[in-house]
Subunit: 395 residues, 4 copies
């Protein structure tokens, strides 16, 4: 990204060099302005849609000065739009705006400030809150609410039920928080919440924490996989953007951009979590996303066993997405020797080198190379496997 910006400015310097050299510089005592919109633009993530669904980039967990955050709600909208998100929810802790004591009487004010700006920018804003109770209950996000005041109940179960009455989508947040070694505990309280249909989703990634145990629970109990940045400061202060880090992103595969369909997508567990190039999801969605990202440029080869030139045969694989895919050969073949580890970098064409073992094979053969994608997790200890079909004519 920095390339093109840089190049552009270099042009200008090139042109002014010319001035410096060949014409007298006119004395300038005037004001120099740069438009105030200069830095206000939106990053494009090269994340493809998948068959049947559009891919929405969401962060549904964040705070403002209306609880214990350090930024104004309008900034959350501009920040998310600028970072390329499509959908956000501001989820300030429910109750008095405790830590900062700002405008304690109106629990909906953060949403009211944020909504008009979101509309101007085309960002989808979901009204929500974080129901914040002492352990072992923990914290739950309630999304798609209409009125936060009605959810402000002393008892955690009353609060969750009140949220459910507004048809909220409810998520158990950072499930290992305040537990020993941060390992989540599925208490009878959580069993009760789950059984009562009040736990639709569970965060397996919160901030820069990952909860493998919660991932297993979600798979076993059929709960939607969720992630959340849980940012309190500006995102750039909590994640190291200068080094390429980004806050967790929940990819939602939705029929359209309506709130109704977004909620449907969440209820039907159509999410993939994306954090620092690990993607967490189910086998079907991960495979669809991989296949929509990748393109094999040449899959047919003619190899002459007698030629000294047959050592290098390059399968070229194009990855136009923003994801790196870290592949490792899943099954060795007796005949074909292929690159066993390959990183399909974002926006790059990578190579699988195909070296036929010396054999007396002639004619046209078909193979399917099978690679494990190490950073596409369908369970804490399991990866998806992807196929590259190729055809070789041995002469």
């Amino acid at each position: 990204m920095s390339k093109s910006i840089f190049s552009k400015i270099a042009n200008l310097s090139l042109i002014i060099n010319c001035f410096n050299k060949l014409i007298a510089v006119v004395l300038m005592l005037f004001m120099v302005s740069i438009t105030d919109a200069q830095n206000f633009n939106r990053k494009i993530w090269n994340i493809p849609n998948i068959p049947g669904f559009i891919t929405l980039k969401a962060d549904l967990h964040m705070h403002t000065v209306f609880s214990d955050g350090t930024v104004w709600p309008s900034f959350r909208v501009e920040e998310a739009w600028s970072e390329g998100f499509d959908v956000i929810a501001i989820t300030d802790h429910l109750g008095h705006h405790y830590k900062n004591n700002v405008d304690d009487d109106n629990f909906n004010r953060n949403y009211e400030i944020a909504k008009p700006i979101a509309d101007k920018l085309g960002l989808i804003l979901i009204k929500g809150t974080e129901i914040t109770k002492r352990m072992p209950y923990g914290h739950f996000n309630a999304l798609f609410l209409t009125d936060l005041h009605k959810v402000d109940k002393e008892d955690y179960f009353d609060a969750l039920k009140a949220a459910a009455e507004q048809d909220a989508f409810i998520t158990w947040n950072h499930p290992g928080w305040k537990q020993e070694n941060d390992i989540p505990i599925w208490d009878s309280i959580h069993e009760n919440i789950y059984k009562s249909g009040l736990m639709n989703g569970i965060e397996i990634v919160n901030k820069n924490y990952y909860y493998p145990l919660a991932f297993s629970w979600a798979n076993a109990k059929n709960i939607t996989l969720m992630s959340g940045s849980d940012i309190h400061d500006p995102a750039t202060a909590e994640f190291d953007y200068l080094s390429g880090e980004h806050r967790p992103m929940t990819l939602i595969f939705s029929k359209d951009t309506s709130l109704v369909e977004i909620k449907n997508a969440l209820l039907q567990k159509r999410t993939i979590l994306y954090y620092n190039d690990i993607l967490f999801g189910n086998n079907e969605l991960l495979t669809s996303l991989f296949n929509a990202s990748i393109n094999i440029q040449n899959a047919e080869f003619t190899i002459d066993a007698d030629s000294k030139d047959n050592y290098y045969n390059y399968i070229r694989i194009e990855n136009k997405s923003c994801f790196d895919f870290d592949l490792e050969l899943a099954e060795k073949d007796n005949i074909l020797i292929v690159t066993d580890k390959i990183l399909l970098k974002a926006n790059t064409i990578s190579i699988i080198n195909l070296k036929p073992a010396p054999r007396d094979i002639k004619g046209e053969k078909e193979y399917v190379l099978k690679y494990k994608v190490k950073n596409l997790l369908k369970a804490p200890d399991d990866n998806i496997i992807v196929d590259f079909p190729i055809k070789i004519t041995f002469i």
Copy 2:
């Protein structure tokens, strides 16, 4: 680009943190390997095709140890493929392999070494040479040759004619070289070459030099605009890739990838030169390339003059190409106040802010915003103008 790589590796560190914490690390005294193909991959430039033509990325001027360069020909191929080029020519100085005294008897050997590797990688290799004579003749590239030995003539005009006999495309290189202040001089010699049909193209960008005067000549005399890196060292040693600089790229708009059509494209002047985000070309090609790069996301607005909310109305412009476009309003409007300077960064959505001046206008109106693209040059002192049509309903 660095983002995703980084993220990917961060994953791994995250996983190993887990190991460090919770399991005993098994003593390892074994070899650790990283696949040797790791860094050998190809950058994708997001440069669109234009209606009727595919866009080929070319560098048709470079050297190897077979003249006064410092690299082996095979490296030129791998380097260019890796940098995302589609077409190259190795143009070692014709004659004995002078400076390095390597293999002086075979002028075609650089091509012979490079060709098999180019074929494996799918890179198009054009056979060429740089006919190198003392000033004021200067240097000329002859491309699409079959045999270099036949072109090796003492007299510059004999050499050019011998190249023409092989149907070469001939370019005058770095026309200001060795002239005072590097300003090119159109000598009677060049007039003669031009009149004899032996000057098909002219470099207006060579290395990091730009020759505005040659640009004017090319426009006036109907000569193809050419650029060349003229690299002698590895490209990374001559351009500051770490800062985002890249070597000049000649975009060739061709019907297909055949040598015949590439030569046709050059003869028909279908080139744009791309260096440090200045694009040099004719109005038609530049406009096509801009339009293929840009997408206006929302062009219809309803504005309520009485609302205090009418101050911000954002036209969102998507730029999925790798080019930055540096726009400046070409014509101010009496009614609409719009952002007057805007940088449409590569892979970014940018905003034109539309502030209606307070007026008694009602109903549906259509406007065409006209912007000058400062870094798309159709002549040394002239830019293309682009249009953004919008529709406003004033209520």
Copy 3:
């Protein structure tokens, strides 16, 4: 900077590769944590002290939610510390906390929130405010105040006098604001303020605006050169840090880190402004800073006119500072031919190539190469000149 981070993490990936290869991966269902302090660290700017003074990095103009900003005061402190600043002032608009309506009764609360955190981090916090009046009066920062409430006067002149009674250092901010073409106008009002000793400094850089005319006034009228970021959002949202941009920095050359000496330094005009590698200051301070940044590694040469090897003679110049210095030869010499343009990049050793013209000179000679530093401005149209003394023995 990104290099070493990256490398570090690469190590870990290297080690885990080993695991993947040679041991069975133990099933892990446990929580993975990364310390919460991970991203909270402080950039080191390689800016040298100069003889007699320490160099303090200051931003004395910024806003919070306690006027029309979007961040909490504690964040301003952490942000500035993290970006490597030594001294800041929060200068919310004086009066009711207008736009955001937060805590309107206590004008000092922003300071009270920020101070304890500043102390923990060792950041120097100056109490201040922006006295905000309609044009043509404009905005003035009053720094080193003790009580903001006493300065809250209707009349601009009363407010400035009340600030002066607290021994404030007073700066005219963004002097071209709301003027036609942003060109500042020195009104009789400003003449009166200046004559009354109520204008100690003037911003010649505000945000990404530069006011050359104000620079001239400051030089002519002996007013301290000031810059200010005037940030309302997080700094990362107003400046393009991903591309290497940073907010303006006022370098203060002080005897020590006490508020007394910092105010003295400001009153005695010991400032240099640093924005996007232009440095604005007086000749003496700029020259001191340049000389403290640069080290000539080899200044003595023996040149044999008869040797073909005498073409390249490299003067190596070390620049350990974070500044790039953009040099252009100020005086051509008849005997020595030296590189006429050179960019002394930050943290880099650059080369001046010395090619003796063919002459009949023998023996030891001394020269002083004089270069103009194009990005070190002592006036809008004037640069400092620096010297490189060298000695050559011609044999």
Copy 4:
């Protein structure tokens, strides 16, 4: 690094904006030049000297077209100087210049081409070669040679002895090469070489390979730790510099820059290997290098157990080196709770947060915080431990 370059150029764009706005642009049809020295400069690595020794940055294993490499020897010198190395050896495979068949009669020619350029740049060039024999003998570098022809013996042992007769420093290269799973085997041949005093060093890092088993051998048998890039292509093509990777660097701790003392340093095992921020060495050298890199800015604290403010107490640790240090608490303390994981990033001040556990302690106490440095390896499975002494007054 990119920051300041960028900023610098932005200035120029800022100035030309002014032109665009306020003066008519003069038609320019002249040549624009950028000095050819522009990109030829040298990176500064912030690597400190240690008490008694200067730290030299070396790569003593690389190839050119004079064996099977792809670059000319002069380029190796310029490349290494530019990347900030102090010492290199070109170690082309001994024998005919096999693969490329260039200039087969003079085995010393690569050195003869490289030496004058090295001298101009102040780079130390060691004459050497790689004695290349079939497995199981393998490859050995012989450094500090005077005449390569005398070492060109058929038998590997004769060749090593001939090198020893020229007082060469001899290194066993990439010891796992061509072995199963790349795990090195200490054959009787190697035992014999070692016993005969013909194995002074051993590569434990070659290219991007690390041989933990060889590291153990080196420690057990008292052999010098060595690394080598073994580059055949330009370094930028073999390592991913755009992502911050660099080729392995052997740090040599020498009394001065003479060849005699450099050889002494190697013979006395004063090396640390630096690759992707892992440092491999002995405990003493690693600890010296760490201590020379780090500075604790504040080590004395007063903590009031009754204050709610006592939660955050920041120990600020300055790291002015180019190394990241990845620390993990080695011993937990019952009284002090401190950050247990901390990355001391290069050119950054990092924080250890000190939270006193609630206890009835009063008065002045001294503690030594002990951290393991995870990326400073003194053995394949062992790290150095570093100390941070602090003093706390509990009130």
